[in-house]
Symmetry: C2
Subunit: 689 residues, 2 copies
Amino acid sequence: MEDLSFIPDISSGPLDVYRKSASFDWKRLKLALEGDIELLKLKYKIWHTLENDPLFAHNRVTPTVDEQKRITQLQLKRINEYKFHTKETFRSSYTKRTRTLMTINEAVQSLNPSVSVKMAIGIYLVSNALLSLGTERHLKFYEAIIVNREILASMSLTEIAHGSDAKLMRTTATYDARTRQFVVHTPDFAAAKCWVGNLGKTCTHTLLFAQLITPDGTNHGLHGFIVPIRDPKTLETYPGLIVGDMGEKIGVHGIDNGFVMFNQYRIPRESLLNRTADVTEDGVYESSFSDPSKILGAALENLSAGRVGIMQESCHSISSAVAIAVRYAASRKQFGERDAEIPLIEYELHQWRLFGYVAAAVVFRVYVESFTRVYLGFVEKSNAGIRVDNLSEAVSEIHAMVSCSKPLLTWTVLQAAQQCREACGGHGFLKCANLGDIRSNHEPTVTYEGDNNVLSQQAGNWLLRQYASARAQAAVDSPIGTVTFLADHARILQQLFHGTETRHLKTAEFITSTYKWLICWLLQQTHDKYESEMASGQSKFQAKTKSQVYRWKSLTTVYAEYLVVIFSLESIEKKEKELQPVLYKLFYLYGLWSLDKHLVEMYQGGYARGEAPTRLIRAAILELCAELKGEIVSVVDALAPTDFVLNSVLGRSDGNLYQNIEQALFNAPDTIGRAKWWRQAVTKTTSKL
Amino acid sequence: MEDLSFIPDISSGPLDVYRKSASFDWKRLKLALEGDIELLKLKYKIWHTLENDPLFAHNRVTPTVDEQKRITQLQLKRINEYKFHTKETFRSSYTKRTRTLMTINEAVQSLNPSVSVKMAIGIYLVSNALLSLGTERHLKFYEAIIVNREILASMSLTEIAHGSDAKLMRTTATYDARTRQFVVHTPDFAAAKCWVGNLGKTCTHTLLFAQLITPDGTNHGLHGFIVPIRDPKTLETYPGLIVGDMGEKIGVHGIDNGFVMFNQYRIPRESLLNRTADVTEDGVYESSFSDPSKILGAALENLSAGRVGIMQESCHSISSAVAIAVRYAASRKQFGERDAEIPLIEYELHQWRLFGYVAAAVVFRVYVESFTRVYLGFVEKSNAGIRVDNLSEAVSEIHAMVSCSKPLLTWTVLQAAQQCREACGGHGFLKCANLGDIRSNHEPTVTYEGDNNVLSQQAGNWLLRQYASARAQAAVDSPIGTVTFLADHARILQQLFHGTETRHLKTAEFITSTYKWLICWLLQQTHDKYESEMASGQSKFQAKTKSQVYRWKSLTTVYAEYLVVIFSLESIEKKEKELQPVLYKLFYLYGLWSLDKHLVEMYQGGYARGEAPTRLIRAAILELCAELKGEIVSVVDALAPTDFVLNSVLGRSDGNLYQNIEQALFNAPDTIGRAKWWRQAVTKTTSKL
């Protein structure tokens, strides 16, 4: 057994009673959820290092937004100086290097999401894009950005009037053969690049996507360029640019999101990221699809890496949220019989409100850890030029998986954060409970890196293509194997709900087979609706828009839940024996709690009939809640970061709820004493009361 | 027809196309939703007055929390000075006076919720409580608080360790016959009164609820006292008190929520609010239930007035949120065919995401307006000593109605605010879109004035009592008539889903009869579960906790939706003819959109069978969305306050979306130019890039 003494023990206190009832060692579960002891050690190293650095100390009073931007920038610089990544990191395998960088990102994100977003965009995303879209001449930027951390970059894609529809971006880069430069131009404010993280105040370069126009007037579509924005020495912007900050937002206040308008701004020809296409000095456009598998691998990485990162971060956000709410529920007493008050966690309603999200936190982590391995394995093989069968099909499948998983995870975590806040009552509304910040910092993830509603439609496209193949008795293109079962769709659609007792439902077989039926049925519904719209004379575009509600959208949700189910199941089967009982309970709870949301479709499609399916699924959920009550505090101990990182007066591991609130109140600077502005607050009165 | 020229016209612009397609005059609808032209005029008078006062100007940069508290306090003082309520207000009938004060509250809330909460607690709630719990000797406080606005009060009930369970509050007021004083004492920090609005920095008096103990040691339970906290001239707290501010919160930053610990703090005997009970000078406790009907009326008002106010405010919050999202959806284009981009509002998915909430905003307003009349009518009659049949039963029914309506409305509005933010994409994440503040300022309403999950259980208690009567063939105690149909429960439970076309579902009859079935069935389920738990030896307390999930909780939700349905229906029937088509469409949409969430119960209970019910309900919802597309912009024009009050760069009525964003960005002080802290942000580098 590995030595886990690097994980700090939890001090004895009011929660002992719930910790002693657990069937497992929470540190073992923590390791199992991380999946790699070295990465877990790295996380603790980062957390301890930052806890000991006053630059990362928590503020009792929220600084102004400008000050938050300053602190975030300094924290990022400090993290770069700590070199949690080493030169060795960049000499190791792609998978190892990337896992290390991802772990650093996760550790930082759970403490300050603004810093991790700044880092993820300005360092990881841009440097990855340089590798995949650029060539040797751009390596100096790669080195400066990610290896030496000398410059901070940004990525300019979205425009004021266009976000989801990237094709219609209107910023142009017109080649001028005379000077061998591209002339970048923004036609009007609606075409200003916007929401660009790091652009508002700090980045020196941006990776710009603009329509490439050759001297003959041909528009060759969006291409990437590396463009200087600010003088690195003075941080003043260059002439020909109007660069501004987007101003205040709802969350992630430490990020300086910015906008930029280019006024005939000239950049060298070599700024074009020219891996797939280039413009000759004379202005001739040349496409070079010499090595399709590499290009595909690169494309895959570009599209998905950011979203995989968001899924990892989402796992940490939900872990923190449920840890706070569960520890609060175990220490907060309210009502009871004969004045013997009982903790909230004893109430079935409270269990039901929270435990589904605890289960989601666990299976999401297991899923994302497992999926990340698969994902990085494909990219690594592709980068290394190893021949991968069906690479293009695998790329499509991974893209579909990410396109629906990112929405499922981010939305579920958003709901979880809200439910956790409500479950902590009024005290949950305290800023120092941290549930508000967890929520508002998480919130933009449902929009950025692909709006959830738009992004998930792409998974639907892929699923419908596979279904069409299956209907035509052709092979389903599913190298990862997530929908090979579609070959069997006709038989699956004949299946009916089976089970007469809850124990029949608390099985992997029931959960996976029900999901297979749901996917097949929703595919059929979506397909039929789409075809009937087409038959009635609608265009493909119209037919697609008319097939979203109750069909396409539900389909992609169900597919994403199925992915969580099958990946986490496969992974749980391999975990150590001692952990399996609790992991299976959490798995069953997540599966049934998720299926419960699709009961209507089960009835509509004839899979479920009568009262039994609803009664049994719901009874099983409540049984699992009761069974997990004695485990759940230790489960959240395994999910939670250190108390310093969790930063919640309600969620400290010692469970000394009221002492911790008292300490927080009496250490805030403005708690006691009249306001400085008391003279203005007084009302003149003559009456004596 | 009334002259509605006091409502400013909307300037012509990009949204004209959607406004011209409306079947009605939006100003007529606005009046119909307000229900009273004088009150509508008052609202506009307030909005225009505050728009012209720089003290109420919007900030481009969010002030510190302390500064927000200062501004809020000054705004409240200024509003008091404006005297939107007049001396006459206090001479008019109870109903008229209260409607006027409620309208002022609504108008202020839609501009700055912190001011309205400060006012609602510190002026309305406390003065109402003084009237109903106090006697003549407390009238001077009433006068000073609400008529002359000389002192600002607060209400101290919740303690650190007890919120929902008010009976277990531990603050004591022990009578000392020697000095004829009560000695107020807080045993420890867990018993500190907390979350008290206005207590943190500004109030001079608090209405305290404490356990009254007589010299013989008897605890007579919670009683109200009016207690001095700060010297009105200096705002310094008195000796014997530790008063502090709760610090930062998630929203309503302008309110100084505070806590207080009493250390043997002496107050005069006359501080006791002695309408229902008093302590003689010698220390003898005397209860005086001389006029039960008045006491009941007073109790009703105390319990419900705050919650009715929250429902009214919720209607304004959802109105603002949907106005922003719908106007954005009508002006924001994305995707389309052959590069002809189409507005988001044309997408069925987008309609489905938003229009249900627009319908909710309308029917909620109609419901609350109508319910408020009923409610105030009862209180007025009761106050005036007019004999009301079944007063105590009516009080119980109204309490049940409020106890489930406040949760339904506040939760729906919270979801609406979130959906509206997401529907505005990244731009919705801008602080100046105002959706973040609408959401976070609304959020505490699901917790305060009775936690939604706890409060709604009280409606369940009442419903189950009525069901027990109905089962026993006894009379159902429902003077308002909301559940008189329970007498018919056996026949109702025999009913089945009927209808073979969507037009059969788009009827008041279908919606109300389905709700009646749902209420009867969920009553049966909840009752049976409770009885079976009792039969298995559980205590009443345990049986109740085991009947919440899927039963009690669903029951109270369905009952609340039914109340919205029947009250809004009755009111719509009386509206002018020109408005009825659009109001009925909105009503049907709300009804079916809400019923859609209970399809599982319909199948489980055998009311629905096969695919038709789901298919028809969902088809009807999408048909209604399509039918409302041409109406919806004018509907939100009727819901929205003025542009100044709405304060959203995305939701201005002119629809000039990108110009408005441009203006907002270029008028914020920190948009352009490098950060003041640029020297710290620079990274030393030798490379030339």
